[in-house]
């Protein structure tokens, strides 16, 4: 159900662009208005989400500790998985964000006869996640060449490396292949693994289909239905310089690619994709395990009724005296 629905939405977007550009000639809408709106939605939306999370209090310091605590001088503490200083926390966050440290712990449980529960290492999800995210990042950065004149050296270098030091056009990028394979694997997990399928929502399939469609339309445009790159760059430079123009003769596939990307940007703040920002705010990861050294203050703490020692002693005084336990009031 969710699978078909998500797939259908992606197809619908493609058809709408087709009809809009080919049929109704709404090039201006698709190449200029929608991109601006999408970017605006993305920026405002993500900012709002982060701001909104930031407004929520952090009453307690509750890191999940993943290694030996800081303790007696002769016991080695695990400074990254159980940080007790800000440096440690920064290190932990870098590992989480850049290397998906926690996902790297992943195991897979299997029940054998006996019964015997065994835990195998399961790094494929980690590998696919790393492959997908880094390819995505590299592809995104490579796209900066459409938005800059002259193209900055680091971007040129990135292209050079990504194409395996190939010289001459058209460059064949490794990331293009990697991201397709990674996406297909991630889709396979959702479609083929019963547990993952069971927990998946339409909003889990949709980004995968959408990004796959973006990637495939991009690859198609680059290697098969070669679009007029000079024209495309006129559009993109027009967009960044706020002097939008639309040259003639740009293939429909470009409009499809662009609109799918806009959909991703606009959808981003409303979806699980905000994990990109949220991971930085996760209190089980971005706090140090140092409560016994540094007090953490609860901003919404309020006075509560407690049972005082006097009440306690009043109830038990006679029994305490009889047992020889010291009391405050004889």
């Amino acid at each position: 159900m969710g699978i078909l629905f998500s797939f259908a939405v992606v197809i619908a977007i493609v058809l709408i662009v087709f009809a809009g550009v080919r049929g109704a000639g709404l090039n201006y809408l698709f190449a200029i208005i929608i991109p601006y709106l999408a970017l605006l939605t993305f920026i405002i939306g993500v900012t709002y989400r982060v701001f909104n999370w930031g407004r929520s209090a952090v009453p307690f310091r509750v890191p999940t500790t993943g290694g030996q605590q800081f303790t007696l001088p002769w016991i080695k503490s695990n400074k990254l998985d159980n940080p007790h200083t800000s440096y440690g926390v920064i290190g932990r966050m870098i590992l989480e964000v850049l290397l998906f440290r926690s996902l790297f712990r992943n195991t897979k449980a299997e029940l054998h006869d006996g019964p015997r529960l065994v835990y195998g290492s399961e790094k494929l999800l980690w590998l696919a996640a790393i492959a997908f995210h880094y390819s995505f990042l590299v592809i995104l950065l490579r796209h900066l060449r459409f938005f800059t004149v002259p193209v900055p050296t680091p971007i040129q270098f990135l292209e050079f490396v990504d194409s395996f030091f190939q010289v001459g056009a058209p460059l064949v990028y490794i990331t293009n292949f990697v991201i397709v394979i990674a996406l297909l694997f991630l889709l396979y997990r959702r479609l083929g693994m019963p547990q993952i399928k069971y927990i998946s929502l339409p909003s889990d399939y949709f980004p995968l289909f959408l990004i796959l469609a973006i990637v495939l339309s991009g690859i198609y445009m680059r290697y098969f239905d070669k679009v007029d790159i000079v024209g495309v760059k006129q559009i993109t430079m027009g967009l960044v310089s706020f002097r939008p123009t639309i040259p003639d003769g740009i293939g429909i596939i470009f409009y499809i690619h662009l609109t799918l990307v806009c959909t991703l940007f606009a959808y981003f703040p409303f979806s699980k994709l905000v994990h990109m920002a949220g991971v930085f705010l996760s209190p089980t990861r971005n706090l140090a395990n140092n409560n016994r050294m540094q007090r953490h203050v609860n901003p919404w703490d309020y006075p509560i009724k407690v049972r005082s020692y006097d009440d306690y002693e009043n109830e038990f005084r006679e029994k305490m005296k009889k047992a020889g336990i010291p009391v405050e009031k004889e």
Binding site: S56, Q68, W74, S102, M193, H275, R292, I304
Partner: protein, 539 residues
């Protein structure tokens, strides 16, 4: 009280399938299976601490006698908590349903119920959050994973949020640190707005409020129990150990779990501690009011938890001690490490803890002034302050169970191991995926160690028990050591069920066995009063 259910045989119970059903989980209504849930709390316990909606009700009833505006209460409660807890807010939003947490939960591994996958446990509540608090959920409803809050949904949340022991294992593996323990804590707080708690939790809470401890031990009983232990120590060592209660001016206030004051095998831990303190001449005292570091309030709401922890620093202040030494208990240390100072600190009337025996400054406790007893004892051993005869534990082949709270909310791994290795000759680790930060829960934490939910407990404890079984078969392990009172209450039942013949003990029991005391008679008995093999005793 709790009626003891009888769980199915282990052979039956271990037939577990991890393959989920075909039907969407939202379309499968919750079914209350006997043995898998606990009795409802009696109204008097709620009244004792001023919690709302005390009434007689039962989870199996169709009518939970909810107040008319229950839905408003819950939704308002969610709204408030989104602002009060960034954990909750962020965790409601950023799960990508990657499934990395799915097979990390002991309840899922021991039962196969897909709603015990942490990610689905969260979705039970997250779906409600989406419906009422997100744009996409309001517009797209089910297609966006949102659903209406109905009585059935409420019951489902109740059923599964009391099948989570707040162990944080899922959180360790989640790429964003999404911690179902935190979501469960907040979910239970919501349920408590409607008076929907367990008898097994609320009884101890009410006791703890009145007497300072879960068991409801009154001051003279605490003293009497410890006096019994002192008698036993005398029989075993020939030494009359002294201790004091509510003594002003002592240097250290010792606070352990009350489970160790009453009942086997916790009492042996206290005996070990009494012997240790005597031997090193520690200037310490007990408080009969602050005689419980555990806090079942933590399984009801943050406010009640804070309420029950008032006694810790206030007693330290009243008695004028310099610092606090905390005993072997799991969730006590979740609270002492992550909450105590925030709730009732700063304890500026105390001093930075220094071991009076070795002079070691406990740098890591300089703020809250609470030291873990295994930190304290490990330091003593390291400085050669204790004379230990390991061979007195030679009849034991020991493995160590890391408790959830001390592992994933603290990280105290080496200290207890160091002690064990210094007091035992035979120590064996369970497989790497089941210890330290990856440790498995005993299956009975967070107030679930009742009698009526015995099947749940045996299922939840299955991964732990299975790892013990491994070292038992491989190395002949016969003793499961730990530093948690709930473990000592829950694991013996679990071992009897899955691995008969494996016993359970605290680390300071092992220490007490090995501790050579000045002027002691030749030991022929261990702390349990059983003959020590090869030590002039029987055999």
């Amino acid at each position: 009280m709790a009626t003891k259910g009888k769980p199915p045989k282990p052979e039956e119970l271990s037939k577990i399938s991890y393959t989920p059903p075909q039907r969407n989980w939202m379309d499968i209504p919750v079914e209350f299976k006997p043995g898998m849930y606990c009795h409802a709390t009696r109204p008097k316990y709620l009244e004792a601490v001023g919690m709302p909606f005390p009434r007689d009700w039962s989870p199996a009833d169709a009518d939970w006698k909810l107040p008319d505006n229950w839905k408003e209460i819950i939704l308002q409660g969610i709204k408030e908590r989104l602002m009060k807890y960034r954990t909750f807010h962020v965790f409601m939003d950023i799960c990508v349903r990657c499934g990395a947490c799915a097979d990390k939960c002991h309840f899922f591994l021991g039962g196969g119920d897909p709603k015990n996958m942490p990610v689905l446990r969260a979705e039970l509540l997250r779906s409600v959050y989406r419906k009422y608090f997100t744009t996409s959920g309001k517009i797209f409803g089910k297609a966006a994973g949102a659903r209406e809050l109905t009585e059935d949904v409420l019951k489902e949340i109740w059923y599964y949020y009391f099948q989570c022991t707040e162990c944080r294992r899922c959180s360790l593996f989640c790429p964003y640190g999404i911690d179902q323990a935190e979501i469960t804590i907040i979910g239970r707080e919501l349920l408590n707005l409607l008076g929907l708690n367990l008898d097994w939790i609320m009884g101890p809470v009410a006791n703890s409020y009145r007497t300072g401890n879960h068991l409801g031990l009154e001051p003279h009983t605490i003293k009497a129990n410890i006096d019994f232990m002192l008698d036993d120590i005398e029989t075993i060592t020939g030494i009359r150990v002294e201790t004091t209660f509510n003594r002003k001016g002592a240097e250290i206030l010792f606070i352990g779990p009350s489970g160790d004051l009453f009942g086997v095998p916790g009492n042996y831990v206290t005996m070990g501690e009494l012997m240790l303190f005597h031997e090193i001449g520690l200037d310490y005292t007990w408080s009969t009011m602050a005689c419980e570091g555990g806090n079942f309030g933590f399984f009801t709401s943050m406010e009640v938890a804070k309420k029950l922890y008032y006694k810790i620093y206030s007693e330290a202040k009243r008695l004028g001690v310099k610092w606090i030494l905390g005993g072997e208990c799991g969730h006590q240390w979740r609270l002492m490490n992550q909450y105590a100072d925030t709730w009732w600190g700063p304890p500026d009337f105390l001093e930075e803890p220094v071991s009076p025996i070795t002079g070691t400054k406990f740098e890591n406790a300089k703020g809250s002034k609470i030291v873990h007893i295994t930190e304290f004892t490990a330091d003593l051993i390291k400085h050669g302050k204790l004379k230990l005869d390991k061979s007195r534990n030679d009849h034991l082949k020991v493995t160590f169970h890391d408790s959830c709270n001390t592992s994933r909310a603290m990280g105290i791994f080496e200290e207890p191991r160091y002690i064990i290795k210094n007091v035992c000759n035979h120590f064996y680790e369970m497989p790497e995926s089941t210890i330290r930060e990856k440790t498995f829960c005993c299956g009975s934490g967070s107030g679930l160690n009742a009698g009526e939910n015995i099947e749940l407990r045996m299922r939840g404890g299955f991964p732990r028990a299975n790892a013990v079984k491994y070292v038992r078969e491989k190395f002949g392990v016969n003793m499961l050591a730990n530093i948690c009172a709930i473990d000592r209450a829950a694991l013996p039942t679990l071992m009897d069920y899955w691995n008969p013949g494996v016993d359970v003990c605290g680390v300071h029991e092992l220490l007490g066995n090995a501790l050579v005391m000045t002027g002691e008679i030749e030991r022929t008995l261990d702390l349990r009063g059983e003959p020590l093999p090869g030590k002039g005793g029987a055999e």
